[in-house]
Protein backbone atom coordinates (compact mmCIF):
# COMPACT_ATOMS: atom_id res chain seq x y z
CA UNK A 1 0.00 0.00 0.00
CA UNK A 2 1.28 3.47 -0.88
CA UNK A 3 2.02 5.92 1.90
CA UNK A 4 -0.99 8.11 1.02
CA UNK A 5 -3.27 5.09 1.19
CA UNK A 6 -1.92 4.21 4.65
CA UNK A 7 -2.52 7.77 5.81
CA UNK A 8 -6.09 7.91 4.51
CA UNK A 9 -6.96 4.58 6.16
CA UNK A 10 -5.56 5.94 9.44
CA UNK A 11 -7.56 9.14 8.92
CA UNK A 12 -10.71 7.07 8.41
CA UNK A 13 -10.03 5.54 11.83
CA UNK A 14 -9.91 9.00 13.38
CA UNK A 15 -6.12 9.47 13.42
CA UNK A 16 -5.67 13.25 13.35
CA UNK A 17 -1.89 13.15 13.03
CA UNK A 18 -2.22 11.08 9.83
CA UNK A 19 -4.76 13.61 8.58
CA UNK A 20 -2.42 16.50 9.38
CA UNK A 21 0.30 14.80 7.35
CA UNK A 22 -2.05 14.58 4.36
CA UNK A 23 -2.98 18.24 4.73
CA UNK A 24 0.70 19.27 4.78
CA UNK A 25 1.42 17.20 1.71
CA UNK A 26 -1.46 18.37 -0.45
CA UNK A 27 -2.36 21.83 0.77
CA UNK A 28 -0.33 23.71 -1.85
CA UNK A 29 -1.79 21.69 -4.73
CA UNK A 30 -5.36 22.16 -3.48
CA UNK A 31 -4.73 25.81 -2.72
CA UNK A 32 -3.37 26.66 -6.14
CA UNK A 33 -5.98 24.82 -8.17
CA UNK A 34 -8.63 26.83 -6.32
CA UNK A 35 -6.59 30.02 -6.70
CA UNK A 36 -6.25 29.55 -10.48
CA UNK A 37 -9.96 28.77 -10.75
CA UNK A 38 -11.32 31.60 -8.61
CA UNK A 39 -8.68 34.29 -9.24
CA UNK A 40 -9.76 35.54 -5.83
CA UNK A 41 -7.32 34.89 -3.01
CA UNK A 42 -9.68 35.99 -0.23
CA UNK A 43 -11.97 33.01 -0.80
CA UNK A 44 -9.29 30.50 -1.73
CA UNK A 45 -8.43 29.61 1.86
CA UNK A 46 -12.08 29.09 2.86
CA UNK A 47 -12.66 26.76 -0.05
CA UNK A 48 -9.40 24.88 0.59
CA UNK A 49 -10.48 24.32 4.20
CA UNK A 50 -13.79 22.96 2.92
CA UNK A 51 -11.90 20.46 0.74
CA UNK A 52 -9.89 19.10 3.67
CA UNK A 53 -12.91 18.96 5.97
CA UNK A 54 -14.61 16.82 3.31
CA UNK A 55 -11.55 14.57 3.17
CA UNK A 56 -11.76 14.07 6.95
CA UNK A 57 -15.49 13.44 6.85
CA UNK A 58 -15.47 11.03 3.90
CA UNK A 59 -12.09 9.36 4.41
CA UNK A 60 -13.73 5.95 4.78
CA UNK A 61 -15.29 6.23 1.31
CA UNK A 62 -11.87 6.34 -0.41
CA UNK A 63 -11.55 3.41 -2.82
CA UNK A 64 -7.94 2.14 -2.93
CA UNK A 65 -8.57 1.00 -6.51
CA UNK A 66 -7.86 4.63 -7.50
CA UNK A 67 -4.86 6.80 -6.72
CA UNK A 68 -5.27 8.99 -3.67
CA UNK A 69 -4.08 12.05 -5.62
CA UNK A 70 -6.89 11.51 -8.15
CA UNK A 71 -9.40 11.40 -5.29
CA UNK A 72 -8.15 14.60 -3.70
CA UNK A 73 -8.13 16.37 -7.08
CA UNK A 74 -11.70 15.20 -7.63
CA UNK A 75 -12.90 16.60 -4.31
CA UNK A 76 -11.12 19.90 -5.07
CA UNK A 77 -12.62 20.14 -8.57
CA UNK A 78 -16.15 19.30 -7.39
CA UNK A 79 -15.88 21.82 -4.54
CA UNK A 80 -14.87 24.54 -7.04
CA UNK A 81 -17.60 23.67 -9.55
CA UNK A 82 -20.28 23.52 -6.83
CA UNK A 83 -19.07 26.84 -5.43
CA UNK A 84 -19.34 28.45 -8.86
CA UNK A 85 -22.87 27.05 -9.33
CA UNK A 86 -23.91 28.50 -5.99
CA UNK A 87 -22.35 31.88 -6.83
CA UNK A 88 -23.30 32.29 -10.46
CA UNK A 89 -22.27 35.92 -10.87
CA UNK A 90 -18.60 35.01 -11.32
CA UNK A 91 -17.57 38.50 -12.45
CA UNK A 92 -17.95 39.67 -8.85
CA UNK A 93 -14.71 37.86 -8.15
CA UNK A 94 -12.86 39.53 -10.97
CA UNK A 95 -10.24 41.75 -9.45
CA UNK A 96 -7.83 43.98 -11.33
CA UNK A 97 -5.40 43.67 -8.43
CA UNK A 98 -5.29 39.93 -9.04
CA UNK A 99 -4.39 40.54 -12.68
CA UNK A 100 -1.47 42.74 -11.71
CA UNK A 101 -0.14 39.91 -9.57
CA UNK A 102 -0.60 37.33 -12.35
CA UNK A 103 2.17 35.13 -13.66
CA UNK A 104 2.97 37.21 -16.73
CA UNK A 105 5.63 39.17 -14.89
CA UNK A 106 7.85 40.05 -17.79
CA UNK A 107 7.98 43.80 -17.20
CA UNK A 108 11.70 43.56 -16.43
CA UNK A 109 12.37 42.60 -20.04
CA UNK A 110 10.77 45.69 -21.51
CA UNK A 111 11.34 49.41 -21.11
CA UNK A 112 9.18 51.09 -18.49
CA UNK A 113 6.96 52.90 -21.01
CA UNK A 114 5.62 49.47 -22.13
CA UNK A 115 4.52 48.49 -18.62
CA UNK A 116 0.97 49.78 -19.10
CA UNK A 117 0.65 47.75 -22.33
CA UNK A 118 1.83 44.63 -20.56
CA UNK A 119 -0.63 45.26 -17.73
CA UNK A 120 -3.44 45.68 -20.22
CA UNK A 121 -2.40 42.51 -21.98
CA UNK A 122 -2.36 40.58 -18.71
CA UNK A 123 -5.83 41.88 -17.87
CA UNK A 124 -7.17 40.75 -21.23
CA UNK A 125 -5.61 37.30 -20.91
CA UNK A 126 -6.93 36.73 -17.40
CA UNK A 127 -10.34 38.10 -18.33
CA UNK A 128 -10.44 35.63 -21.24
CA UNK A 129 -9.73 32.82 -18.78
CA UNK A 130 -12.31 34.07 -16.28
CA UNK A 131 -15.10 34.17 -18.85
CA UNK A 132 -14.68 30.54 -19.83
CA UNK A 133 -17.50 28.18 -18.77
CA UNK A 134 -16.70 26.38 -15.49
CA UNK A 135 -15.99 22.93 -16.90
CA UNK A 136 -13.81 24.25 -19.72
CA UNK A 137 -11.82 26.43 -17.31
CA UNK A 138 -11.25 23.55 -14.89
CA UNK A 139 -10.18 21.15 -17.67
CA UNK A 140 -7.78 23.81 -18.99
CA UNK A 141 -6.30 24.45 -15.52
CA UNK A 142 -5.72 20.74 -14.94
CA UNK A 143 -4.15 20.33 -18.38
CA UNK A 144 -2.11 23.56 -18.72
CA UNK A 145 -1.11 24.32 -15.14
CA UNK A 146 -1.22 20.97 -13.37
CA UNK A 147 0.12 19.10 -16.44
CA UNK A 148 -2.33 16.23 -15.95
CA UNK A 149 -2.94 13.84 -18.85
CA UNK A 150 -6.35 13.66 -20.50
CA UNK A 151 -6.83 10.22 -18.92
CA UNK A 152 -6.14 11.62 -15.43
CA UNK A 153 -8.45 14.57 -16.05
CA UNK A 154 -11.18 12.15 -17.20
CA UNK A 155 -10.86 10.24 -13.90
CA UNK A 156 -10.80 13.43 -11.85
CA UNK A 157 -13.82 15.01 -13.56
CA UNK A 158 -15.58 11.63 -13.97
CA UNK A 159 -16.10 12.08 -17.70
CA UNK A 160 -14.76 10.26 -20.77
CA UNK A 161 -11.39 11.03 -22.38
CA UNK A 162 -13.13 12.24 -25.53
CA UNK A 163 -15.23 14.62 -23.38
CA UNK A 164 -12.00 15.99 -21.87
CA UNK A 165 -10.55 16.45 -25.36
CA UNK A 166 -13.68 18.30 -26.40
CA UNK A 167 -13.66 20.55 -23.30
CA UNK A 168 -10.02 21.51 -23.76
CA UNK A 169 -10.46 22.10 -27.49
CA UNK A 170 -13.40 24.45 -26.81
CA UNK A 171 -11.55 26.22 -23.99
CA UNK A 172 -8.51 26.88 -26.15
CA UNK A 173 -10.67 27.93 -29.13
CA UNK A 174 -12.51 30.41 -26.90
CA UNK A 175 -9.21 31.78 -25.61
CA UNK A 176 -7.85 32.03 -29.12
CA UNK A 177 -10.94 33.90 -30.34
CA UNK A 178 -10.57 36.47 -27.56
CA UNK A 179 -6.82 36.97 -27.90
CA UNK A 180 -6.31 36.94 -31.68
CA UNK A 181 -8.01 40.27 -32.43
CA UNK A 182 -5.44 41.88 -30.14
CA UNK A 183 -2.61 40.34 -32.12
CA UNK A 184 -4.06 41.85 -35.27
CA UNK A 185 -3.98 45.29 -33.58
CA UNK A 186 -0.34 44.73 -32.66
CA UNK A 187 -1.12 45.00 -28.97
CA UNK A 188 0.56 41.66 -28.22
Amino acid sequence: MQNDEILIVATANGDKSAFEELVEKYKLIVFNIIHQYLCNSSETEDLAQEVFIKIWKYASTFNPKYKFSTWIYRITVNTCLNYRKANKTSNKHYSLDQIEESGNNDTAEKPSNDTSEIKERNEIITKALLTLPSNQKMALILSQFERRSYKDIAEIMEISVSAVESLIFRAKSNMKNQLLPLKDKNQL
Partner: protein, 153 residues
Protein backbone atom coordinates in the same frame (compact mmCIF):
# COMPACT_ATOMS: atom_id res chain seq x y z
CA UNK B 1 -8.15 13.23 -42.08
CA UNK B 2 -10.54 16.02 -43.05
CA UNK B 3 -10.14 19.66 -41.99
CA UNK B 4 -13.01 19.57 -39.43
CA UNK B 5 -11.52 16.60 -37.65
CA UNK B 6 -7.96 17.97 -37.84
CA UNK B 7 -8.95 21.32 -36.32
CA UNK B 8 -10.58 19.51 -33.39
CA UNK B 9 -7.36 17.61 -32.80
CA UNK B 10 -5.12 20.70 -32.65
CA UNK B 11 -5.45 21.15 -28.87
CA UNK B 12 -4.77 17.43 -28.26
CA UNK B 13 -1.74 17.58 -30.58
CA UNK B 14 -0.31 20.58 -28.68
CA UNK B 15 -0.85 18.67 -25.40
CA UNK B 16 0.93 15.56 -26.75
CA UNK B 17 -2.21 13.48 -26.45
CA UNK B 18 -2.40 12.01 -29.98
CA UNK B 19 -1.33 8.41 -30.46
CA UNK B 20 1.40 7.78 -33.10
CA UNK B 21 -1.08 6.89 -35.87
CA UNK B 22 -3.27 9.95 -35.23
CA UNK B 23 -0.18 12.18 -35.00
CA UNK B 24 1.14 11.01 -38.37
CA UNK B 25 -2.22 11.60 -40.08
CA UNK B 26 -2.49 14.99 -38.40
CA UNK B 27 0.94 16.20 -39.47
CA UNK B 28 0.43 14.87 -42.99
CA UNK B 29 -2.72 16.95 -43.33
CA UNK B 30 -1.20 20.08 -41.69
CA UNK B 31 1.75 20.06 -44.10
CA UNK B 32 -0.63 20.08 -47.05
CA UNK B 33 -3.39 22.40 -45.76
CA UNK B 34 -2.84 26.18 -45.36
CA UNK B 35 -6.07 26.79 -43.45
CA UNK B 36 -5.37 24.12 -40.83
CA UNK B 37 -1.74 25.16 -40.60
CA UNK B 38 -2.82 28.73 -39.85
CA UNK B 39 -5.31 27.48 -37.27
CA UNK B 40 -2.52 25.54 -35.57
CA UNK B 41 -0.29 28.63 -35.53
CA UNK B 42 -3.07 30.79 -34.03
CA UNK B 43 -3.81 28.29 -31.30
CA UNK B 44 -0.12 27.84 -30.48
CA UNK B 45 0.11 31.60 -30.07
CA UNK B 46 -2.96 31.79 -27.77
CA UNK B 47 -1.77 28.85 -25.65
CA UNK B 48 1.67 30.46 -25.22
CA UNK B 49 -0.03 33.40 -23.51
CA UNK B 50 -1.95 31.26 -21.00
CA UNK B 51 0.14 31.43 -17.88
CA UNK B 52 -0.80 30.52 -14.31
CA UNK B 53 -1.29 33.18 -11.65
CA UNK B 54 1.54 33.59 -9.14
CA UNK B 55 1.12 30.72 -6.66
CA UNK B 56 0.00 31.67 -3.16
CA UNK B 57 0.56 29.99 0.18
CA UNK B 58 -1.96 29.24 2.90
CA UNK B 59 -1.84 31.25 6.12
CA UNK B 60 0.09 29.81 9.11
CA UNK B 61 -3.27 29.13 10.79
CA UNK B 62 -4.62 27.06 7.92
CA UNK B 63 -4.41 23.68 9.65
CA UNK B 64 -5.59 24.96 13.04
CA UNK B 65 -8.77 26.33 11.42
CA UNK B 66 -9.42 22.92 9.86
CA UNK B 67 -8.71 21.19 13.16
CA UNK B 68 -11.23 23.42 14.95
CA UNK B 69 -13.85 22.54 12.36
CA UNK B 70 -13.32 18.79 12.50
CA UNK B 71 -13.11 18.76 16.30
CA UNK B 72 -16.76 17.84 16.76
CA UNK B 73 -17.08 15.82 13.61
CA UNK B 74 -16.50 12.11 13.36
CA UNK B 75 -14.41 10.50 10.72
CA UNK B 76 -15.54 6.99 9.87
CA UNK B 77 -18.30 5.37 7.89
CA UNK B 78 -22.04 5.94 8.07
CA UNK B 79 -22.63 2.80 10.12
CA UNK B 80 -20.18 3.67 12.87
CA UNK B 81 -21.49 7.22 12.99
CA UNK B 82 -25.07 6.02 13.34
CA UNK B 83 -24.06 3.55 16.03
CA UNK B 84 -22.21 6.18 18.05
CA UNK B 85 -25.15 8.59 17.82
CA UNK B 86 -27.70 6.04 19.07
CA UNK B 87 -25.50 4.26 21.57
CA UNK B 88 -26.28 6.52 24.55
CA UNK B 89 -30.08 6.20 24.28
CA UNK B 90 -29.93 2.47 23.60
CA UNK B 91 -27.58 1.79 26.46
CA UNK B 92 -29.85 3.58 28.96
CA UNK B 93 -32.93 1.70 27.74
CA UNK B 94 -31.09 -1.60 27.85
CA UNK B 95 -29.74 -1.01 31.34
CA UNK B 96 -33.20 -0.14 32.66
CA UNK B 97 -34.66 -3.28 31.13
CA UNK B 98 -31.97 -5.48 32.62
CA UNK B 99 -32.47 -3.97 36.07
CA UNK B 100 -36.22 -4.46 35.95
CA UNK B 101 -35.81 -8.04 34.85
CA UNK B 102 -33.29 -8.77 37.55
CA UNK B 103 -35.48 -7.20 40.19
CA UNK B 104 -38.45 -9.25 39.07
CA UNK B 105 -36.47 -12.47 39.20
CA UNK B 106 -35.13 -11.68 42.65
CA UNK B 107 -38.58 -10.78 43.96
CA UNK B 108 -40.25 -13.94 42.67
CA UNK B 109 -37.69 -16.64 43.39
CA UNK B 110 -35.15 -15.57 45.97
CA UNK B 111 -37.28 -14.57 49.06
CA UNK B 112 -38.71 -17.56 51.08
CA UNK B 113 -42.35 -17.60 52.24
CA UNK B 114 -43.78 -17.83 55.74
CA UNK B 115 -47.49 -18.56 56.34
CA UNK B 116 -48.50 -17.27 52.92
CA UNK B 117 -46.48 -14.06 53.23
CA UNK B 118 -42.96 -13.57 52.05
CA UNK B 119 -40.66 -13.35 55.07
CA UNK B 120 -39.67 -9.82 54.24
CA UNK B 121 -43.37 -8.77 54.11
CA UNK B 122 -44.10 -10.18 57.60
CA UNK B 123 -41.09 -8.38 59.07
CA UNK B 124 -42.16 -5.13 57.48
CA UNK B 125 -45.71 -5.54 58.74
CA UNK B 126 -44.51 -5.91 62.32
CA UNK B 127 -41.98 -3.11 62.10
CA UNK B 128 -44.46 -0.62 60.69
CA UNK B 129 -47.34 -1.71 62.93
CA UNK B 130 -49.54 -2.55 59.99
CA UNK B 131 -51.72 -4.73 62.27
CA UNK B 132 -53.97 -1.71 62.79
CA UNK B 133 -55.51 -2.40 59.38
CA UNK B 134 -56.58 -5.98 60.29
CA UNK B 135 -60.27 -6.88 61.00
CA UNK B 136 -61.79 -5.72 64.39
CA UNK B 137 -61.42 -8.39 67.17
CA UNK B 138 -64.71 -9.92 68.56
CA UNK B 139 -64.27 -8.81 72.18
CA UNK B 140 -62.84 -5.41 71.49
CA UNK B 141 -64.36 -2.04 72.27
CA UNK B 142 -64.44 -1.29 68.63
CA UNK B 143 -66.70 -4.31 67.92
CA UNK B 144 -69.15 -3.31 70.75
CA UNK B 145 -69.38 0.21 69.29
CA UNK B 146 -69.98 -1.22 65.86
CA UNK B 147 -72.86 -3.38 67.16
CA UNK B 148 -74.47 -0.40 68.91
CA UNK B 149 -74.40 1.54 65.64
CA UNK B 150 -76.14 -1.32 63.84
CA UNK B 151 -78.93 -1.50 66.49
CA UNK B 152 -79.54 2.23 66.18
CA UNK B 153 -80.18 1.86 62.40
Amino acid sequence: MKCNKVKKKIAAYLDGELNPVEKNEFLLHINGCESCSEELEDMEFAVSLIKPLEPIKPSPYFYSKIRNNIGTQHSGNVFTRLVSLNLNGLSIALSTLIMLLLGSILGNFVIPENNGYPVRTAELKNALNLGVFNDIAEDSFGMVYNDLLKEKK
